[in-house]
Symmetry: D2
Subunit: 338 residues, 4 copies
């Protein structure tokens, strides 16, 4: 049984990995790190995992590069950058939840992430971990660049017809606040986020180049989007409402989606606009397609859990593919409703 490390295990994506791995039958977590909780047991820091099989694991500060086989990195982008290199040198499998290896165009890192990317070869080798698109590459990968939450929700909603899109792509997304991570900032305090909603990073958001890069790569043409993210007062959940010009009818598009995704266990083509409550806590991506006769626009709406399919459960899905076990292991569950 493979040994798994969760590096940066006390952030929201790290702890979500541990929650899912607690019910995963075919791997063993043997390393969890956290500077903040160094020396403490998992169950004492996160009592919701008391009585889970990993309850007695102790957070360590340092990363043991030998001890595990698969490393999930839940770290700041520039920390992931270098640790991936070290792990790669040790022959380990890295599933990186940061953006450090997502975009082949290195200039993006300087412009959007404030660091120079020194590892051309690794960047080249890394596979973008969106199983519905890159499953064959993922099977052979040793570095997975796990996609961002917004990119996951948007790319899955465009992929089947991406090469047929004609003109504008305007995307309004809504995100739960857990998307900001466990970040101590006044904006994210309960009293200030409560009963609130707003657009943010309207001029420049890091996920824009990621989305454009992948969509351009898939469509073999240059795709520009207008992406406007919003914060809404939920902890988890992400909804992307996308308007495109395309020379296909709604029914044709639905048909293409159903065909393309027909064997996908986690894509659900919906009859009604999806609701974030229906996917929260799961690995599902629900997609709805409709048209507006008057303007001729096609509207596609997708819903995911930003910490689930948008981060941690997708990371587990990638691991399952790499390990050649049932891709859905640990991931078959439904949202808590109501």
């Amino acid at each position: 049984m493979k040994n798994v490390a969760v590096i940066g295990a006390s952030g929201y994506t790290g702890i979500e990995l541990l929650r899912i791995l607690s019910n995963h039958r075919y791997v063993n977590v043997n390393q969890i790190t956290s500077r903040q909780y160094k020396g403490k047991a998992l169950k004492d820091v996160f009592p919701f995992l008391y009585k889970s099989k990993y309850q007695d694991l102790i957070f360590t500060e340092d990363i043991d590069l030998e001890k595990s086989d698969i490393y999930f990195l839940c770290l700041p982008h520039d920390a992931s950058l270098h640790i991936t290199k070290s792990l790669k040198d040790k022959g380990k499998i890295v599933i990186d939840l940061s953006a450090a290896y997502r975009i082949k165009d290195k200039s993006v890192y300087l412009d959007y992430y404030n660091f120079e990317h020194p590892y051309d070869d690794l960047l080249n080798e890394a596979v973008y971990g969106l199983p519905e698109i890159y499953r064959e590459d993922i099977k052979k990968a040793t570095i997975i660049a796990n996609p961002g939450c917004y990119p996951t929700s948007i790319i899955l909603a465009l992929y089947p017809v991406v090469d047929k899109i004609e003109d504008i792509i305007i995307i309004n997304s809504l995100s739960g606040i857990s998307g900001a991570g466990r970040h101590l900032k006044e904006d994210f305090l309960y009293p200030e986020a409560f009963s609130n909603a707003y657009a943010y990073s309207v001029e420049k958001h890091r996920h824009t180049p990621e989305i454009e890069f992948i969509l351009s790569d898939l469509s073999k043409k240059n795709i520009n989007i207008r992406f406007i993210p919003h914060i809404i007062p939920v902890s988890r959940g992400m909804l992307s409402t996308i308007n495109i010009k395309i020379n296909l009818s709604k029914d044709e598009i639905i048909q293409i989606f159903k065909e393309k995704y027909k064997n996908e266990p986690f894509i659900r083509i919906s009859d009604k606009p999806p609701r974030i409550k229906e996917v929260a806590g799961t690995n599902f991506c629900d997609i709805y397609i409709t048209e507006d006769k008057k303007t001729g626009l096609i509207t596609i709406i997708s819903a995911i859990d930003n910490l689930g399919k948008g981060a941690s459960s997708q990371a587990i899905q990638n691991m399952n593919i790499i390990l050649n076990i049932d891709e859905t292991e640990g991931l078959i569950n439904y949202s808590i409703w109501p």
Copy 2:
């Protein structure tokens, strides 16, 4: 001092009118109606108004057409339709919060509201109660068609440049759940709306023709919009994110807005994307303008309280204008923050 009636006073817009009128110095509420609470005192049904000056008013079932001078109608559209006629015949002033008199094009009522509109003359006479645009007409009006919440948030965000818009107008709006009214439906129960968000009426929403009618009227050309409303889990608040093509720079547009709205007490041109918490409980409309160099799109974001500027406080503003008293009477307050 004029006597005021709130007809349908136990719905959300009715009760919000009473809250505001409790601090209004120049009119007297002498009639409140509610089928559900007939015979009960205001303070017993709505204890938050205990110790307010209208606490002992008794809800009546029937409408007394004589007793008051100004009638706020918080009724279903087709009920407002006819009561407005009766009140008009008595020489009363009507401020109608339904849609019954908002759109001059009668065909819309059949298509979107399921009734035929029999009162051409009244429809013609009614003034659309958006003070920032129609103040001069409002001064002389006896029937105010108080605007819808989405139309208010959208029209105010486009009005200063509406005649210069070139092409597409794509609008994503977020609304608090109070926008659905006090409507007993599973979707609006706390457990189902909690931690949820979704688009709705994506194919057809009643506010679309209202917005298009007013924008077309203002711009003297036919304007079509793609309007997609969403529900978010707050009680109050509305955010509209609008993308347009226009042959003006961001700075030019901001200048036009500042000039156009320079004397408006309730329009605030923001430096940052506005947040619904900053306008909740108030009559403010906060507007933010930015541009996206890559796509050439201008993005305008507006925030209002759907029950405030989107309904009841705007109705009071209209009344103040008609009565020729200080337009801000009863309306100067700031949101509860945090």
Copy 3:
């Protein structure tokens, strides 16, 4: 494999049963009923269960008394009363989530539930389905009276020392709004429950006699409690804060609890006051014990999910015991955090 019916499957406890049963390996759901959704498929009414194994089950209006082996009744109390009789006559196993068979003292039904209980023998035979206390009886039961949510949270927090309590038991409980069921009432609309909290049924609550009956039965003396339930603005979760006079130290009590519950998979004795987020969506009951030197009072705090251990997952636990399969089947999962 046993066939299972969920009767009243579109309420909150019914749908929670279906969610859990979707991941249960040893029974087969072959009947779901709902007057409201008669003829519709599960996935169309509850899209969160789209792609679950029961997605295509059709809601029926009538109950087939033959078709299933085990019947979960999620019905009004007086409906459960009679259907249990009919099912019993057919030799079926009934797990009744209503209160119809919880209290052996028949006078309570007339006083608190407005019906006369005509089935002495069934009432006598029914087993109160709290596995931690009545497991041996449950194994042989054919009628399970599944406990109420408040009683579960309170009785589990007192059971190990119930015979040693001396004097007063004052209980303040907090409940999520899903505890009210899928009940269309203004109080439970999102805008009115949002940002709100209050005590209710302060003079008389149906769970008081249930709690007193079981505690008295367990302690062999007459126990009266002061029980004050409160509504808080969450969907799920229940917290009971209990103050008692008892002639034992905090440490002694903790020791007794740890001993009594040492083999219980779903009881967690906590080092810190438990949080409802840590148990939401699970079958756990977290219990914290402390003392107040000044007043000499012992305080016990327990947390459960009112729809989980307080209703549906406890019902599954009861079923597992009756079927003599692993008691935790379908129930090992951790709360969605954050």
Copy 4:
């Protein structure tokens, strides 16, 4: 017109003071301080106050001890301690929202607040700012120790019968998260506080000695309480549920309360258990009294806004009394409902 300073104006109580003072007609705010926002204008930091009369005030870091007549201190306890002394030496009026001058028994400060209190004379001179009890003293005061939120909600609910209470006082309180202040801690991040509730400081809470000191002082006997505070997921609002033994009937107690509070503008004796939504954003304290025949206990429930009557609006009420202006100036408003 008196000049007013808000010292520590960017915390939640400071900003609430500014919100209320923006509509106060008889004082002028001429000083606001904040280390964090030094040099910035009020409207830029808090856009909800854009277009208010103080929108252009600039936050300063240093406190000008001369410039204002009345100083509201919204500071940590030990900072307030010394600044009060300096202001007093300058002959200023101090309304201190910290606990530094609330309790005459100096030993409490060392035990609960970790500092020695060096100013016997000032401590002696300071008046506990609960107008319903100490109005006459407040009129002549130059140092107001503005009460804590829990103490306000509890003392007002016991004061009229405090000398008749016989035995136990068990208090369970619920508080909105703004009660924790603008404190950057993981527990208060939206994702972690969302959908959560729990008891805290169960063994020792700073407000316990404050409550006991005042109740003992009022009743002329030693009163011990069992006080258990809970966090619930709202921003504002506080509910205290109190159980006492007392030799009076419910009706007698209600009569005593109505008589005692008959001229109080901000106390409302309720017919139903009060709801925090009914007092949020206001200076009201709603009180409900009932009895439990079985246990002989009297239950009193009170609701306030922890930032309103529990802090800032009460501070304004104190100022109004000191200035001998209408006690309700700036404070007549009703909660935003729904």
